[in-house]
């Protein structure tokens, strides 16, 4: 299992899910914070106002009108020392207003608490109906914020004069409490966001773990170490896996049909070619020389064209088959068993030559290379066949393995190829010596297939003076042919 940081790059599924979760979470927390803060503020304000209203009622009960019609406050019963201490933050005041706001004669601060000292409370001019209580927020004499409640008081005798009783208190402490609450609320919500974010990351990590498993399996299919998706996935992902497997099966079936059709095409073309070749051979080697010269020339042409047609068919069929296989993505194959199989075939095909094959010891663990098994057979077969055709006594095969590549070195003790002609040997149909049987396609096919699998073929001189062919292919971690051990 490959561990990856859960916050993937922007645009990924992981990123989208996390961003959507975080956005919703943050918005919800902000809304919750605003609501809680507002409710708390409302509650504190209501409590404060309620307390002031009680004081207002007490003061109203102690307010009376003197003989000259002036207001008189019985302050003896006001026990709260803050009414007396200057600028204590707790104030009361009585204003005189006219029944009509446009009438002259209104006075502010007709009576006021001692705590106001020389100052007065300046309230916005408004008309307070009987029995109603108005609330204001103003700046106090010491600059502190004040919550103010006021109500009107009037007597039946003084119809043109309205007394406004005002009680104010410092709201600063309540605001501090509110700020403290907001601070704690912010910290709590922040912690909650953090925890929920971590929880969301964990959920995304767990929820997307099947996708990571799917990615690993898809990579294994892509690099050829397995043919299908084999694990069991959650019900939400399993239909996708089933469709992918169906597509892989269909592609494999398509390849199989293509290979069969290619084989059938080869058979359909080559059998008539064999008939023509045989007829031409018969005409050219007729013992009693009854075949006229014109017919012999015709037979010669037929023989040449049959050989040319065979080359073309072989070349294009191999290319088509290899391209079809390569289209399926990376495939891998165990190298040593294929090598051993090809040496066994060479021993039969070139039995008359009594060639000695120096084959390396089996490789353990199995050495897998990036190549389809058929193409690997084709590459090794052509290399070994070419070496067998030209060698005198021995064909030597060596394996060189690095972390990334596997190299097959095939050497013979034949005449070799001059350096200037080696590049030409990798071109289609080039033969340096017509005396040995062959099409001139073998090394070119190996070269083409090697490049198809991101490998290479290099020709050189062997230590015995013959040709050395170095085939390099990429290593893969595990063969897709399921060969458990080498040398089987």
């Amino acid at each position: 299992m490959i561990w990856r940081w859960p916050l993937a790059r922007p645009g990924s599924l992981r990123w989208r899910v996390l961003m959507a979760t975080l956005t919703g979470l943050t918005a919800s927390m902000l809304l919750a914070g605003w609501l809680l803060s507002s409710l708390f503020k409302e509650h504190v304000t209501r409590q404060f106002r309620s307390e002031l209203t009680i004081h207002l009622d007490q003061l109203a009960a102690r307010l009376s009108v003197g003989p000259q019609g002036q207001p008189v406050m019985d302050s003896a019963g006001l026990t709260d020392p803050r009414w007396q201490r200057p600028l204590s933050g707790r104030y009361w005041q009585v204003d005189e207003r006219r029944a009509q706001p446009t009438q002259a004669g209104a006075r502010i601060g007709v009576l006021r608490s001692r705590s106001l000292w020389d100052g007065t409370l300046e309230l916005p001019p408004d008309v307070v109906a009987d029995g109603s209580v108005h609330t204001h927020t103003i700046s106090g004499p010491a600059g502190q914020p004040l919550l103010v409640v006021e109500r009107s008081v009037h007597t039946a005798e003084q119809t043109q004069t309205v007394w406004t009783l005002i009680v104010a208190a410092d709201f600063h402490e309540s605001e501090q409490a509110l700020q403290s609450f907001n601070g704690m609320l912010t910290a709590a919500l922040g912690a909650m966001i953090t925890l929920l974010t971590l929880s969301a990351v964990a959920q995304v990590w767990v929820a997307l773990s099947p996708m990571r498993a799917l990615e690993e399996e898809a990579a294994a299919v892509s690099n050829g170490s397995q043919q299908r998706l084999t694990r069991t996935y959650p019900s939400e992902v399993q239909p996708l896996v089933s469709h992918l497997n169906a597509a892989l099966d269909a592609q494999a079936e398509h390849l199989s049909r293509a290979k069969t059709q290619a084989g059938n095409l080869a058979h359909a073309l080559k059998t008539p070619l064999a008939v023509m070749q045989h007829a031409a051979d018969h005409a050219l080697t007729d013992a009693d020389a009854s075949v006229p010269p014109v017919a012999q020339a015709l037979a010669q042409t037929v023989s040449q064209q049959v050989e040319l047609a065979r080359k073309q068919v072989d070349w294009h069929l191999r290319r088509a088959q290899a391209a079809a296989r390569a289209g399926l993505g990376k495939t891998s194959c165990s190298l040593w068993p294929s090598l051993a199989s090809m040496v066994r075939v060479m021993g039969r095909v070139h039995a008359d030559r009594r060639i000695r094959f120096d084959l390396p010891e089996p490789v353990s663990p199995p050495l897998a290379v990036e190549a389809d098994e058929q193409d690997l057979h084709e590459m090794l077969g052509n290399l070994l066949d070419n070496a067998c055709k030209w060698t005198t006594t021995c064909v030597s095969i060596k394996l060189e393995i690095t972390d990334a590549h596997a190299t097959v070195l095939v050497e013979d003790d034949g005449p070799g190829i001059p350096p200037s002609l080696r590049r030409d040997m990798l071109m289609r149909g080039v033969r340096l010596d017509e005396s040995a049987p062959g099409s001139g396609l073998g090394l070119a096919i190996v070269n083409d297939l090697a490049h198809l699998y991101n490998g290479s073929l290099v020709l050189g001189s062997s230590s015995a003076g013959g040709l050395s062919a170095v085939l390099t292919l990429r290593r893969l971690s595990q063969p897709s042919d399921g060969v458990p051990t080498v040398g089987a």
């Binding site: 080869a266 008939v275 045989h278 066994r344 039969r348």
Partner: protein, 220 residues
């Protein structure tokens, strides 16, 4: 030497049949896998030329069945599928050699000769027994370097004996290996062919082992 030719394409079958007979082989032909399997499973052949793409039963199945039932005659596979993977499959199924279409008749005959020779434990294409030599490539028989003219049947008898030097070969065995299945077989004619060979090569080259058959020996 008796060869089974299995090829479903009529023209190629006829051409190969003719070429093999001209090369001195007794040829049985089959055009489908089922008949080929039955023939190869019951008749003694010195070699088989087997096409892979056959009706009724494919060539590889025929070959595997022969091998699993202990039939070990050399088999040359003839097929249009020219890739090494198929060759591996063919060789692993029990084939001894592989020839892809189209091919030259001479190459087919050369490979067939090599197969038959190697199955008898012989390496040289020129078979020798004392002064008698048989060049399998040209079909030329010489005695002390002088060419000897042999009829087709005389050649077949001598070729079979020279592929089994020192072994006692019964008349029945000789009959089975020089006549194709559809031929008018008469084991008595073997005595006639052996008699003619003794006249041409010298009586001492072919011994009669009473009650058992004949043995090719190099005269001391």
């Amino acid at each position: 030497m008796r060869v089974l030719l299995v090829e479903d394409e009529p023209t190629l079958n006829r051409q190969l049949d003719m070429a093999l007979q001209q090369a001195g082989y007794s040829v049985d032909v089959s055009v489908n896998g089922q008949d080929a399997w039955a023939l190869g499973d019951t008749e003694p052949f010195d070699a088989v030329v087997l096409d892979l793409g056959l009706p009724q039963m494919d060539g590889l199945t025929v070959l595997r069945r022969w091998r699993s039932s202990g039939r070990h005659m050399p088999v040359l596979i003839l097929t249009a599928r020219d890739n090494w993977h198929d060759k591996v499959t063919g060789i692993d199924a029990g084939a001894d050699d592989y020839l892809t279409k189209p091919f030259h008749t001479a190459e087919l005959l050369a490979r067939l000769r090599g197969l038959i020779r190697r199955s008898s434990g012989l390496s040289s294409p020129v078979l020798s027994c004392g002064p008698v030599q048989l060049d399998t490539r040209s079909g030329l028989v010489t005695l002390d370097g002088q060419s000897i003219n042999l009829t087709s049947h005389e050649f077949k008898v001598l070729a079979y004996l020279m592929h089994h030097p020192g072994a006692v070969v019964s008349r029945t065995e000789l009959t089975e290996h020089i006549y194709a299945q559809d031929s008018d077989r008469d084991s008595n004619t073997i005595e006639v062919f052996v008699g003619r060979l003794r006249k041409k090569l010298g009586a001492s080259h072919i011994e009669t082992v009473r009650g058992l058959g004949y043995r090719l020996v190099a005269p001391s």
